[in-house]
Point group: C2
């Protein structure tokens, strides 16, 4: 219960460092509570300590944990500001406005359960983010934390380390229900995507939707792959059919996913939502100046300087890393050759085992290099000082993708197109795929879970009672402290990256190792469970992210599918079957292969144009909405004109 007696629902936790000055805290709280007319956020905020002591109150804990909530009215007006799309009474999705709130489908009474908790938390995050300094030159009590009119207070506190974290609270009961229907029962059904979206937001739900779609799309490949493997059809020259199938498959599934994704995004109301104006990243720095777009005072950083950093430092660094990766690949081939020669001289059981060792070592080294490179890429991209989060993300994704692609597939390309050794390609592919899957599952789910368990145990020992997050009677204060200690979920980046590489293994080379698709299907099924598990149990709840599509990853997968066309055509051209058609001339064979490949690429691009990205019925719905708003505008103008003419008379 808050001071004025109205019910206070805590939604978001704000944690400041324990040595924050008293005056800074009271200033921040008053700014958060102040009305919007006065430039405040008009939210409710309470210190955790004052909401009844938790069991741990006697311990020495950080007292600066604050809970933020808002009145129902404030949340609804926030939803309107954000342009949140909700279901209208006629089933279409429309931007919510308070004026005609009663026309929305789920708006009953005073709209208590109209917004989901994830939406409320997203609104509060947005309101906190856009809480701006007025005439303060620095944060009271912290001379070193400078402010200027219009600067986002939360972002400044975050970048200066005074604000440790802002995170949304879990909903214990709903989480329990979700996790039960999601991963705790073994079943042959789809994931509860709508529930995932309801709890975690559209970005997460789209990832799990894509994971599911990708798994189902792989089933035909897997079904074809199994008999190839079982009946030993794969004498390395009968793979032409498989390669041709592969080539069509990877084009078609990506086109269809676009439509699928548009359907999901339409259902969730993010398809036609306009993007809000993007704020500078918290870490962005520069000389104070006036933004030419907003006219606000904010740090400016010349674009040319950033370009210089990108092209003179980052680009050479990436190239160097690629060279290093190639160098390590050559070492692997040396090792491989040495082991083979040992095995050939005196073949025993142990030398047979030894043959697999270089591949396994190489697979581990690849994963380690990917990991190290990932940190370097993050550091470099941070240093490039991008103004917008989206630009930062694009540069990071590009850097990481290029290197990971090279690192994982260079050896396979080398074996296939330089060494022409299909047996080795198959063996290498299998080792890489299996090793990286095992490593990934371990690093992604079991390691964080184990760390979390250790941390939880320490925590529970500290509070002297054996209650965990699932426990219903856990007091709010303990729940908040428990969640504040959980690891932070860093977004879907790594998950998509993993799918991207798996897609690469299947689309590029699965014709020589048809079991790849089967392995990836199996991996994806466990991936659903481990990802769901880590979302529900290991990590803090993330803020929802109203995504309309999978963004830059669609592009990445499409680039991969173009490379797959080239690779599969070359593999077909190299097959003995096809070579038999051109007994007298290799040149003819190559020319034909190139011609067919160009034709296929052209066909692929034409297909991309021909298949509409958004299904027909959604297109109709969207244009109906647009038409209606145009008509309404016209009617309004007409009315105004009538009134004017009446007034003149």
């Amino acid at each position: 219960m808050s001071a004025d007696g109205s019910r206070f629902d805590p939604l978001v936790v704000v944690e400041l460092t324990s040595d924050t000055k008293e005056e800074a805290i009271s200033w921040l709280l008053s700014r958060i509570r102040d009305t919007q007319q006065n430039g405040g956020a008009e939210l409710q905020v309470e210190q955790l300590e004052q909401l009844g002591p938790g069991v741990s109150a006697q311990e020495k804990e950080n007292p600066n944990l604050f809970l933020v909530g808002a009145t129902r009215q404030r949340l609804l007006s926030g939803a309107e500001d954000l342009g949140l799309f909700k279901e209208f009474h006629d089933g279409s999705m429309r931007g919510f406005t308070c004026a005609n709130k009663h026309n929305f489908k789920d708006f009953q009474g005073d709209g208590d359960s109209f917004l989901s908790m994830a939406e409320c938390q997203y609104i509060i995050k947005h309101e906190l983010d856009t809480l701006r300094a007025r005439d303060e030159t620095h944060v009271p009590g912290h001379q070193q934390v400078k402010l200027y009119p219009g600067k986002s207070i939360i972002r400044r506190l975050l970048s200066k380390g005074i604000l440790i974290q802002v995170f949304p609270l879990h909903q214990k009961e709903e989480l329990k229900r979700l996790s039960f229907s999601w991963y705790q029962k073994v079943k042959l059904s789809f994931q509860p995507l709508d529930d995932i979206r309801h709890y975690y937001g559209e970005g997460q739900a789209l990832y799990f939707g894509f994971l599911e779609y990708f798994t189902f799309a792989l089933v035909p490949m897997a079904l074809i792959g199994v008999p190839y493997y079982l009946f030993d059809w794969e004498d390395y020259d009968k793979y032409v059919l498989l390669a041709a199938f592969n080539l069509v498959w990877c084009t078609v599934i990506l086109e269809l996913w676009k439509r699928c994704s548009a359907s999901l995004a339409y259902r969730w109301g993010t398809l036609s939502r306009k993007k809000a104006f993007e704020e500078p990243r918290p870490g962005f720095h520069g000389v104070l100046g006036f933004n030419p777009v907003t006219g606000r005072e904010e740090p400016l950083y010349p674009n040319t300087k950033r370009q210089l950093r990108v092209y003179l430092v980052s680009l050479p660094f990436v190239l160097l890393c690629l060279y290093l990766s190639l160098y390590i690949m050559m070492i692997y081939f040396l090792m491989e050759g040495w082991v083979l020669s040992v095995h050939d001289e005196e073949p025993t059981f142990w030398t047979g085992i030894l043959c697999f060792i270089p591949s396994v070592i190489y697979a581990v080294v690849i994963e380690v290099m990917n990991l190290i490179y990932r940190y370097a890429a993050e550091f470099l991209t941070e240093w490039e000082n991008h103004r917008l989060e989206s630009s930062y993300q694009n540069h990071l994704v590009l850097k990481v993708l290029v290197f990971n692609f090279f690192n994982c597939f260079a050896s396979l390309f080398y074996i296939a197109f330089v060494m022409h050794d299909m047996v080795m390609l198959r063996q290498s592919l299998a080792t890489l795929l299996i090793t990286s899957q095992i490593l990934n599952q371990f690093m992604e789910a079991f390691l964080p879970f184990w760390l979390q368990r250790r941390r939880n145990k320490k925590m529970i020992r500290k509070v002297q009672i054996r209650k965990t997050l699932e426990d219903k009677e856990l007091p709010l204060a303990d729940q908040v402290r428990l969640e504040a200690d959980m690891s932070t979920y860093l977004g879907t980046f790594d998950d998509y990256l993993e799918l991207f590489l798996l897609f690469g293994y299947v689309s590029l080379f699965s014709c020589v190792y048809p079991l790849a698709a089967v392995l990836v299907v199996l991996n994806n099924i466990t991936e659903v469970y481990s990802d769901a598990f880590k979302m529900c149990r290991v990590f803090k709840r993330p803020f929802s992210d109203p995504a309309a599509n999978i963004g830059v990853w669609q592009l990445a997968f499409e680039a991969m599918s173009v490379i797959a066309v080239v690779t599969n055509c070359s593999l077909i051209g190299m097959s003995p079957q096809v070579k038999a058609y051109f007994p007298e001339s290799d040149m003819q064979l190559i020319l034909w292969t190139v011609a067919v490949e160009h034709g296929l690429l052209a066909f692929k691009f034409i297909l991309t144009f021909l298949i509409p990205d958004v299904p027909k019925h959604i297109q109709i719905n969207l244009s109906r909405l647009e038409f209606e708003s145009l008509e309404a505008l016209k009617k309004k103008k007409m009315l105004e004109a009538t009134e004017l003419s009446k007034a003149i008379q």
Copy 2:
């Protein structure tokens, strides 16, 4: 002077057939004059006869010529409805609204010269087009011309042949000034693009802007080509450099054009203008039903039926035509071979001349086939019954482009890549290029001009006075009749198509015939003059078309530049110079060529992503406008909230 004494400026001419029933005419006029509240167009309309008899009044002429105009107030509100962008006082382009009309730069007094005549005519055309039937079931007096509520009256009258034409009037004085600065003085300066836009609208001006840009872009190619030709560098194996330059050139100029085009469109205010809701084409027919988007009753035609027509009739027809074109090409090669054998047997001067005959005949046949195919394509696309003009245009452009590309370039590809005969390629290219240029200039400007002259003479003889359009004292009635008899300008389609083919000649093969660029530059310079001449003197004034870019042609040119990369790489790979690097193995050579080509294509796509389509300063301006409207919206909401809270208190 109109009946009520206010000044009547005629802007648009509407011509009905002479046997239109009297009641239909009076109904149409009353609908056009009726107020907007009553569903009319609220325009002024007068019969030509009643505006003082022209000199030709005594003759038997069609009396059903009507002049349409509008009050200043009506035009301004029409401009607001259309979302016309005009220059704001701060130099940015904003959507015009009557409410803050005084903040626009050129709005002086009561805004008499604020809208250009072309804009006024465009507004009137739009208002006429959106004049809809209310409860009429047919046009009065014409039982067979059915109507239903919401049907555009003008479009129905047009498709039933009662309405002959709607066209905007020329402005004699401004036309004189424009034509003087545009083509009547020989000068070394740019075209008056802003004046062209002012008089003809953005679509026309963009075409002339593109023509100018393309000509200037060709200058470096021409400058390199001339010494190649003069100093006889072109012994057919030194063209590698030229091909490499060509390849970079055609990628870069298209990317830069996008930025250029965005700058022009921003300056003219069409870049960020929203497209109006598209009406069905006049010729579209189907069973009456309810449009799922607008809810209006209108003819519907099932999409599947249209798809069947496209894929089962049009596609096979196009393929058949392509086959025919190849067949004729083979006949040409037979003729060529026969002529060469005659020349080789007994070489005389006449047989030398004879050698050129097949090429010239073939070039003429190509032009004739293009022309015939053009009519067939128009017929087929009309028959496919597209609902929207844009969809009709896309299908037509695609059909025509594919065939013209094949027809013009197939023989060159055959000579280059099957016969490997660079001497013949060069000769063939020169003949094709020169013949088609001569034919085009003739067909495009001189023929229509001659026809026009004949028609004018007849007309002038009829009215018994020797006054032409340029004559200042020509009465309005005669001017209208003179213009009504002029040919109708059919849009920029043919002009762009010609540029597309010229671009093809240069980008694909100019490395073997460096003079091609010079010829195209010369052609373009005369093209500017002849196009300007025909726009000003031969054709009726077209309605302006607020285009933001050159539309589907950008795509067509880019497709051509991709093909150019492939072609130039192949030509480089085939050159003796490059072959010398791979003396022992043709296979190596081909593999390298293919690898380089793939690299270049990838680079081209990356470049397309890297170069922003809109220059930075325009991007900033656009996002500033967007930001300002967002802020204004927020402020408005805040004010409403304040008022609400005051009212509650």
